[in-house]
Every structure is written in structure tokens, then in C-alpha cells.
């Protein structure tokens, strides 16, 4: 295997995991930007999305696009309910809110273990086969993930920029008090934003199900990575989440391919700690007033 194949492979893989990290991070940063909540349960919604995708695709045999829609909707609705009942009480207390989301994640994860058992499920590829261009071969299933993630993000971006609701959300993120004065119903925005955020996570989970398998414990790592990306890109910055997600995916892929996974993991963490110390707002974040 020569260098060009190595690089191409690493690049493709970087894009795939970068795409997943981006979806996770965008949702995570949205919630933090609007509601100042660090959602420790974010990864569990990824897991729920993976399971929903698994059941609808494998057991009900629906077309994958429908499966994705169902995953997004169910998680979104669940997210809204969770926000209204369990997170709203902590609006004035960041720390308690954070710990509450921790408790929620424990409940969801173990609920999944009770319902579906701890044994991982194998989800078949959505598209089989490989695309061969000269000496390079890329598996279609991974290319599909990249394409789908891109489409989902574009839809999200259009929503945030072009619709009234999206603009209202951005207003709340910028300055809650002014938004209230402007008549924006903050009490509706919050659950909606939370629901959207976890719906994105669920989509990431459903997309990655065939690539990484489905079990109650798959949510942990994506959440940790979301943390890292969001710090990298800036807490509350959506463009930061996109850039940060793709960057982290690439960094991870290349350092792991060059130096092995252990070095790669430590490097990523050190990089992020450095950013936090030197420029806590991240690459594209706002300076905290």
C-alpha cells in the first residue's frame, strides 16, 4: 500500500467521522448557545436514534430515508418533553441543570439496557459495495453518511437563516432579554431548540448505526467528541461546530493512521486543553462578556 492510498483512506475516514461529529456538535452547541445547558444526555439521544434506525430498518423494513425521519421525530419529541419537564426547572442554575442531564443520561442508558439488552446489534449497510476510482476503493456506505450529513446540515442551516422560527432562536441565543422584549416566546423556543438538538444527534446515530453497530453504550464516545468539538469551535457557535467537527474528524483520522490511536487520543485532548487556556472562546466563539 503506498502513501497516496493511505492518505486517501485517511481523508475519507476523516470526513465520515467528521460528518458525524459535526451533527453531534451542532446540536450540542445550539442548546448551549440558547439555553446555557451542558447536555450530558446528548449522547443517549444518539443511541436512541441508532436503535430507532435499527428497528425501523431491520424489523419494519422501511426505506432508510423514512427511518431517518422517524428517528429524528421520535427523539425530537422526546427531547421536547424532557426539556419541559426535567430541564426547565433548572433554568436559573447551570450547575444543577448539568447534573440533571447527567442523571437523565443514566436513566436513558439503563432503560435501554433493560428494554433491549446489552448485547450489540448488527445493522446491515444501507448501500453495499465499494466505489473504485483507480487504485482507491471507498465503501459506499461511508460515502452515503457524508452525503446525508451534508444534506441534513444544509436543511438545518436554511431553517435557522430563512425561517421565522430559526431567526427567533438565533435571537434568543444572542440576547435572551432583548428577544423577550421583542415578543419572542422564549418558553416555546427552549423546548423546540432542545428537541432539534437531540434530533440531530439521533440522525447521527441512525446514520452511523451500520458503520459502528447499535448498543445501549454507543452514546458515550460521540458525546465526549461533541464536547471536544464544541470547545474547539466555540461554545454556542454553529459555524464553529461545523468547522470544529470536520477538523477534529480529520485530525483524529490522520493522527490515528500515522501514530496509532493512543497517541491520537492524547493529542486531541491536549490540543483542546491548549485552546481552552489560550482562547477559551474557541476558534469561532464569542468572547464571554
Amino acid at each position: 500500500m503506498d502513501y497516496s492510498i493511505l492518505l486517501a483512506q485517511a481523508a475519507l475516514n476523516g470526513l465520515v467521522i467528521g460528518a458525524m461529529y459535526m451533527l453531534m456538535a451542532v446540536g450540542f452547541t445550539l442548546v448551549f448557545g440558547i439555553m446555557r445547558v451542558v447536555n450530558f444526555a446528548h449522547g443517549e439521544f444518539y443511541m436512541l436514534g441508532a436503535f430507532t434506525g435499527f428497528f425501523t430498518y431491520v424489523h419494519w423494513e422501511m426505506p432508510f430515508v423514512v427511518c431517518l425521519a422517524i428517528a429524528a421525530l421520535t427523539s425530537g419529541v422526546l427531547g421536547m418533553l424532557v426539556e419541559r419537564t426535567l430541564i426547565q426547572p433548572f433554568r436559573s442554575d447551570e450547575m444543577s441543570g448539568m447534573i440533571a442531564t447527567l442523571a437523565i443520561s443514566v436513566i436513558i442508558q439503563n432503560g435501554a439496557v433493560m428494554l433491549w439488552g446489552p448485547v450489540p446489534r448488527a445493522m446491515p449497510d444501507i448501500v453495499t459495495g465499494t466505489l473504485t476510482i483507480g487504485p482507491f476503493s471507498f465503501s459506499w456506505s461511508r460515502l452515503v453518511v457524508i452525503a446525508a450529513a451534508a444534506l441534513i446540515f444544509i436543511a438545518f442551516w436554511l431553517f435557522m437563516q430563512r425561517t421565522r422560527l430559526g431567526r427567533a432562536m438565533r435571537a434568543v441565543a444572542q440576547d435572551t432579554e432583548t428577544a423577550l422584549i421583542q415578543g419572542i416566546r422564549v418558553n416555546y423556543i427552549y423546548p423546540l431548540a432542545f428537541g432539534m438538538s437531540v434530533a440531530l444527534a439521533a440522525l447521527a446515530g441512525a446514520l452511523m448505526g451500520p458503520v459502528f453497530s447499535v448498543s445501549p453504550f454507543v452514546g458515550l464516545t460521540p458525546m465526549l467528541k461533541a464536547f471536544v468539538v464544541v470547545i474547539l469551535g466555540g461554545l454556542g457557535s454553529v459555524p464553529g461546530a461545523v468547522v470544529g467537527g470536520l477538523m477534529l474528524g480529520m485530525i483524529e483520522s490522520f493522527t490515528a493512521t500515522m501514530f496509532g490511536s493512543l497517541v491520537s487520543d492524547i493529542l486531541q485532548l491536549l490540543l483542546v486543553i491548549l485552546i481552552l487556556l489560550v482562547r477559551p472562546a474557541g476558534l469561532l466563539g464569542q468572547r464571554e462578556a
Binding site: 450547575m95 442508558q109 481552552l276 487556556l277
Partner: protein, 335 residues
């Protein structure tokens, strides 16, 4: 504790006040007596083991609480515990350092490390500090896992010697219990005295309003570093004590999950009180054991309890205790 209860209960008549001043002292004496007698009441070694875990967890939680008094929550506390454990274990295994000295060494080294780290990390506040301590904890775990030549990586360290006091080894659960009890009393007394001193007052004003504290001339970063160093140093020493009890150490022994557990104990017990950590540890340590029969539901119940406490008793069990106490000692008006 005395000062807190007296002020919380408000200005009563002088007779009432006098009674109240005696009450906590009597209560503490009674509890101490009970604690000393406890292991004699049961032949069941498992309960003694549980008591040991409770005492150690209390120290972990109280030391975390110390850092919280300056308004910073560390999500990497377990890393300090683990580092202290490794220092003492390696010192005992490689240099035959007596464990009791190893514990002291661990405390001093971790305290010093916290001073150095604190000067850098404590520049961040609030959520950012939480995140950076979380990440630092992860880095620590990875380093310990991979630095095999020193830590034996995932294999861990076995055969770690027990603490030996004047040639008398604390190799049974019962013997360790008395040691742990003594350590616990020492730590709690120290923290109580600290909080009553000038330091405690400075800590509290920083937690309440950092800008106000700064403008009134308090050197915020100095006090934050002090709190961080003391809290982490105590944690390191306690970690060392624990490792000479369990006598086995691996990167799995103290992880992010444990950091979360300590925070949970602190919050459930009561974040704003000194004995919050103790109550939290008391309540939460045996809980997984009591629920062990319901494998699966066990964790969910744990999470649900945490959530319920957060929602309905936000100031933790301590606040429940205080309102009961208030009712018992006939205060006028609500807290």
C-alpha cells in the same frame, strides 16, 4: 458546624440559644460514640467494608466541596485521587516506603501539583473550568493507561501493602475502619476550622459574587488556588489511603464515573454545607448495594433519585436536616 447551626437557626432567646449551642456538641459526641461502637454490633464484614467505603467517599466528597466553596466545580477530581493512589502505591512497591508516609507524600505532591495546575486552570470560570477539569482528567487516565513502564498499564498494580502503624498492620476491614474514622474526623475538623477562619470567609465571598470580592480587595486567584490545592491534596491522600486498603490499583479504579459520583454525593448531600459531602456519601454509597438485587433497575433508580433530589430538594439532604432541626428546636418562622 456549630457556627452554621447557630446562625441558621436565628436569634432566639438566650436560654434557647444556650440549649442550641449545646445541642450540636452533644449530637457530635453521640455520633462519634456510635461510630466507634458500630463494628462491634455486627459480625458481618461486608457492612464494615461498606462503612469503610462510606468514610472514604465522604472524604472525597468533602474535599471536592472545599473546591466548590470558591465556586468552582471540578469534574476531574478522581484524577487527583488516582494520582495520589499511584504515587503511594509505587512508592511502597518500588522504594518500600511505609504506606503511612506514602499517604502523606501523596497529599503533599498532589497539593503541590494542584497549585501549579491551578494557577493555569483557575483562570477559567464556571462551565469552562468544569470542562477543562473534565478533559484534564481524561488525559490523566490515558497517560496512566499507556505509561506501562511505570504504572503497568491496564494490568494494574497488585500486592500493594497495607498501612502499618508502629509495626501493627491494618490488614483487616475492622482495623482499617478505625483508621478511616480517625482520618475522616481529622479531615472534617480541619475543613470546619478552615471555613471558620479568615480563609473560609474569603472563600464564601468569592462564591457569592466574584466581582464584588475582587473589588473589595480579596485576591481571588490566590484563594481559589488555596482551595483547589487543599481539596486536591486531601483527595490525593485519601486516594492513597484507599489503595492501601483495596491493595490493587488500575486505571479503571478511579475514572470519570467516580468524578461524577463525587459530584452527585456533594449535590445530593448539599452543595452549600460542609457536611453535605458526608451526607451524600452516607446516602449514596450503600445505595447500589441495596439495589443490587434489581440489576438493571438499580442504575435507573440511582439516576431517578438524583434527579428527584435536584428538583425537589435542591439544597440537598442538609436542607432537609436543617428544616427538621428548626422544627425540633422551635424556631419562629420558616428558614
Amino acid at each position: 458546624m456549630e457556627g452554621q447551626v447557630a446562625s441558621a437557626v436565628g436569634q432566639g432567646g438566650s436560654r434557647l440559644a444556650a440549649r442550641r449551642r449545646f445541642l450540636p456538641g452533644v449530637a457530635i459526641a453521640a455520633l462519634l460514640a456510635a461510630a466507634l461502637a458500630l463494628p462491634q454490633l455486627t459480625a458481618n464484614q461486608f457492612y464494615v467494608h461498606l462503612a469503610n467505603l462510606i468514610l472514604l467517599n465522604s472524604i472525597f466528597a468533602v474535599s471536592l466541596g472545599l473546591i466548590a466553596t470558591v465556586g468552582q466545580i471540578s469534574l476531574g477530581h478522581a484524577a487527583f485521587v488516582a494520582a495520589g493512589a499511584y504515587i503511594s502505591a509505587l512508592a511502597a512497591l518500588s522504594f518500600k516506603l511505609p504506606p503511612i508516609l506514602g499517604i502523606v507524600l501523596a497529599g503533599l505532591v498532589m497539593g503541590l501539583a494542584a497549585v501549579l495546575l491551578g494557577k493555569i486552570l483557575l483562570r477559567l470560570r464556571g462551565v469552562y473550568f468544569v470542562l477543562v477539569t473534565f478533559l484534564a482528567g481524561q488525559v490523566f487516565t490515558l497517560v496512566v493507561l499507556n505509561w506501562e513502564s511505570v504504572t503497568h498499564g491496564a494490568n494494574g498494580l497488585i500486592g500493594i501493602p497495607a498501612i502499618s502503624l508502629f509495626g501493627f498492620p491494618l490488614s483487616t476491614r475492622l482495623r482499617f475502619y478505625y483508621f478511616a474514622l480517625a482520618a475522616f474526623v481529622l479531615v472534617v475538623t480541619f475543613v470546619w476550622a478552615l471555613m471558620r477562619s479568615q480563609y473560609g470567609r474569603a472563600f464564601r465571598s468569592i462564591a457569592e459574587n466574584i466581582r464584588l470580592a475582587e473589588s473589595s480587595g480579596i485576591d481571588v486567584s490566590h484563594y481559589q488556588v488555596v482551595a483547589f490545592a487543599l481539596g486536591s491534596g486531601i483527595a490525593g491522600a485519601a486516594g492513597a489511603a484507599m489503595v492501601h486498603y483495596v491493595r490493587f490499583l488500575s486505571p479503571d479504579s478511579f475514572t470519570f464515573h467516580d468524578s461524577v459520583a463525587y459530584i452527585t454525593m456533594l449535590v445530593v448531600g448539599g452543595r452549600h454545607s460542609m457536611i453535605g459531602g458526608v451526607l451524600g456519601a452516607l446516602f449514596l454509597t450503600p445505595l447500589p448495594e441495596l439495589l443490587r438485587g434489581f440489576v438493571g433497575a438499580q442504575h435507573i433508580i440511582y439516576g431517578a433519585i438524583l434527579l428527584a433530589v435536584l428538583m425537589f430538594i435542591p439544597n440537598g439532604l442538609v436542607s432537609v436536616g436543617k428544616s427538621l432541626l428548626a422544627k425540633v428546636t422551635d424556631t419562629e418562622g420558616p428558614e
